[in-house]
């Protein structure tokens, strides 16, 4: 009886070939990536001139995209580490989804920062001439650390699954079989091996929490260590981290829905999961809302001259449509949807997840650009187009290409590896049945 259930689980969860929908999806993503790549080639050739970035708005959607990627990658630590350490078991089927989002997002965060550099050919200078007092170097260090810990957290729980997959030699095909054997042929399901990986996963789960806090705190410090209105805030670290957990959880809601409907995983990603994740998102949105109130209301109460222009630009000025859209889409509306039991049904939760993620992307744009367009000394003695920032098609193409690239990594990962941990699911069902 038990054996049968186990076979069923394995059959359900083994990675599947792309169907027609999957193929169209991959082709679309590849096309977006190709356009982005072409735009980047143009940027390499002509310089950052092809962007709308100028001396005042010297950072734009590349940097907001970077902050977005770092933010969404934090979800890996939330789901795998925080929930694991607090002994929450319902999140087990979601760990791998969260972890691959983390790995792919943090890799593209690194890539997009190179895209933003005026001299990517001198990237090695960061290592040959790096100076520890610059927050950029801190970011390089913590992001690399986070990437490696996340990769290990993805890999160790994958080992027992690799053993299961290696058994399906004919189904895998030659190259995939080789990959699985390369990654996991040493794994024999021995108790000692489990002992080692369990211990390693525990250690990694503990270490990843401070590292995750560090990546996003340091990213916030890229702004908060400057004097500018809108960035000069002691609230910034906590504000960024709470926002990061929110967008990551929103991303997981989307991924849960897509994988569940596409791979028919209703038995594994249940309505109950949406219900619980929905509650998590409400909590995180409330926390982020709290930090937003701190971030905007306190300076608005004082209305210091330097802050005033910036704040009024957001509240009622040129950035107000994006500002109010971002606040309502990333926090208010999702809270209103997910606070109700009906709103936590998969479809509504999926919709709320999309709102959170899209709103959060624009929120990152608002963190970066409006501040730069409100310098201490008025904008002066520059060409007219230096005083505004409307991204060019090259910037949209590159930013879009990086987002498509991140989705592509997740897609291919789900094609090659089981997106729901097979071994852990079997263990969970076993313990449920025994209980």
């Amino acid at each position: 009886m038990e054996k049968l259930a186990e076979n069923k689980i394995v059959q359900d969860l083994l990675p599947q070939k792309f169907g027609k929908q999957g193929q169209i999806w991959v082709v679309c993503l590849l096309a977006i990536c190709a356009v982005g790549f072409y735009a980047y080639c143009r940027q390499l050739y002509y310089g950052l001139e092809v962007t709308a970035l100028r001396d005042y708005a010297s950072w734009g959607i590349y940097i907001s995209n970077f902050v977005f990627f770092v933010a969404i990658s934090l979800v890996g630590s939330l789901i795998t580490a925080v929930l694991r350490l607090t002994d929450v078991h319902w999140s087990t089927p979601l760990t791998r989804i969260a972890e691959i989002i983390a790995v792919s997002a943090i890799s593209f965060a690194g890539l997009i920062i190179i895209v933003d550099m005026g001299r990517p050919d001198r990237f090695y200078n960061l290592f040959t001439h790096g100076r520890l007092q610059s927050p950029i170097i801190w970011d390089v260090i913590v992001i690399t650390t986070y990437l490696f810990i996340s990769l290990l957290l993805l890999y160790f729980p994958l080992l027992p699954d690799l053993k299961i997959m290696i058994a399906f030699k004919e189904k895998n095909g030659k190259s995939l079989q080789k990959l699985y054997e390369f990654l996991g042929s040493f794994w024999k399901n021995k108790p000692e091996q489990f002992k080692i990986t369990d211990k390693a996963i525990n250690i990694l789960s503990i270490t990843i929490i401070p590292v995750a806090f560090a990546i996003h705190t340091v990213t916030s410090w890229l702004f908060a260590t400057t004097y500018r209105p809108g960035w000069d805030s002691t609230n910034f670290g906590a504000y960024f981290i709470s926002g990061a957990f929110l967008v990551g959880a929103g991303g997981v809601l989307i991924a849960m829905y897509v994988f569940r409907t596409h791979y028919k995983l209703e038995k594994y990603i249940t309505d109950d999961h949406f219900d619980k994740m929905g509650k998590v998102v409400v909590l995180l949105a409330l926390v982020y809302l709290y930090f937003n109130i701190n971030e905007f209301l306190v300076p608005a109460f004082k209305m210091k001259k330097s802050e005033e222009e910036h704040l009024m630009g957001l509240f009622t000025g040129e950035f107000s449509p994006i500002f109010w859209f971002a606040i309502s889409a990333s926090m208010l509306i999702p809270i209103l949807i997910l606070v109700f039991k009906k709103g936590r049904k998969p479809k509504w939760a999926f919709f709320a997840g999309i709102l959170v993620v899209v709103g959060s992307w624009f929120k990152r744009f608002l963190i970066v650009t409006p501040t730069l367009l409100h310098p201490f000394l008025p904008m002066h003695d520059v060409p007219k187009n230096y005083t505004t920032y409307i991204p060019t098609w090259e910037e949209w193409a590159i930013a879009g290409g990086s987002l498509a690239g991140a989705l592509l990594v997740i897609t291919f990962f789900a094609r090659i590896f089981p997106i729901i941990p097979i071994h852990e699911t079997i263990i969970e069902t076993d313990s449920h049945e025994k209980a």
Binding site: G47, L53, D55, R122, N125, L126, L222, T226, L377, Y386
Partner: protein, 303 residues
């Protein structure tokens, strides 16, 4: 007149020094095959030798050095020993002629439209008086740009000057975000410079040639200072707005007038911009009182 003679003598001495240096490097500049081309003209000139002796050389053997070789990067990073440079900008004299700006743009081959020196029409509030405020790089003693640079491409020298090594800059633009005075500009595209200048090796002291994908800003013209001259903006200003000098010598000059720095700041209530940020700028401002010119903003009409 006297200064002219002095500088010529200095120039010739340097020529000789340069010749000697070349000889030391192995390639003798007076090799026979070269000398055969040059016929003595019979006209002799007096030169100051390295030992301080006056010597006579035939004019035909003199080779002009096209320009002073710039100091090596390692020296440019240290600065001129025993100096601490500062600038005083007298707002009562400025009428936004912008000769400072055009001279600076010309000498540093700055991209059209961009400026290292900006002349702001300032008015603190509705009822207060408007005035012109030229800004250069503030060469802060606590430079926020230097703090954030990840690769030490922008650095603070012992003589107080903040410079940029465009051969090292990675173009992350963190320094631009960090600078509260908006004094930094970026080379968004390939700089439009004549090939002859673009091909020169970059010097931190001249900030020339500017390079694509790197940051540029006012450098206090240390190359001019090394030669005993004033920065381009100082000598270009027809109204003597800019004073430049050494705080350790306690003197600043705009070329025509020289003041004791401490007295000038004391007598005219000099101040620095955004003192509350703690950046400790090296540029001081004298308030726009007893003005030489009324404030006339023709720029806003042009728009």
């Amino acid at each position: 007149m006297k200064t002219n003679e002095n500088s010529r003598r200095e120039f010739l001495a340097t020529t000789l020094l340069a010749g000697a240096a070349l000889a030391g490097c192995g390639g003798n500049p007076f090799t026979p095959d070269e000398v055969t081309d040059v016929k003595p003209s019979g006209e002799m000139v007096k030169l100051l030798s390295v030992d301080g002796e006056i010597i006579e050389v035939d004019k035909a053997f003199l080779k002009p050095v096209p320009e002073m070789p710039s100091v090596p990067n390692s020296e440019a990073r240290v600065g001129i020993p025993g100096k601490k440079f500062a600038m005083v900008i007298d707002l009562s004299r400025c009428k936004s002629v912008k000769k400072c700006q055009s001279a600076c743009n010309h000498m540093h081959h700055i991209h059209p439209g961009q400026n290292w020196i900006k002349v702001y029409p300032m008015q603190e509030s509705e009822k207060t008086a408007p005035y012109w405020q030229p800004t250069t790089c503030m060469h802060c003693d606590e430079p926020p740009c230097v703090k954030v640079c990840p690769v030490d491409a922008t650095f603070k020298r012992k003589d107080g000057i903040v410079l940029i090594d465009s051969d090292r800059c990675v173009g992350c633009r963190f320094c631009m975000a960090a600078c509260p005075y908006s004094s930094r500009v970026f080379n968004w595209e390939e700089p439009q410079i004549e090939k002859e200048i673009a091909d020169k090796p970059y010097s931190c002291e001249t900030s020339v040639p500017q390079k694509k994908g790197t940051v540029g800003k006012c450098d206090f013209c240390p190359d001019m200072v090394r030669q005993g001259s004033l920065p381009h903006c100082v000598s270009a200003c027809p109204n003597g707005v800019f004073f430049f000098g050494d705080i350790l010598e306690d003197s600043v000059t705009n070329g025509a007038e020289t003041f004791r720095f401490s007295d000038l700041i004391k007598d005219k209530s000099g101040y620095r911009l955004m003192e509350d940020l703690g950046t400790k700028p090296s540029v001081y401002y004298l308030p726009p009182v007893n003005r030489n010119f009324p404030f006339e903003n023709t720029e806003s009409e042009k728009k």
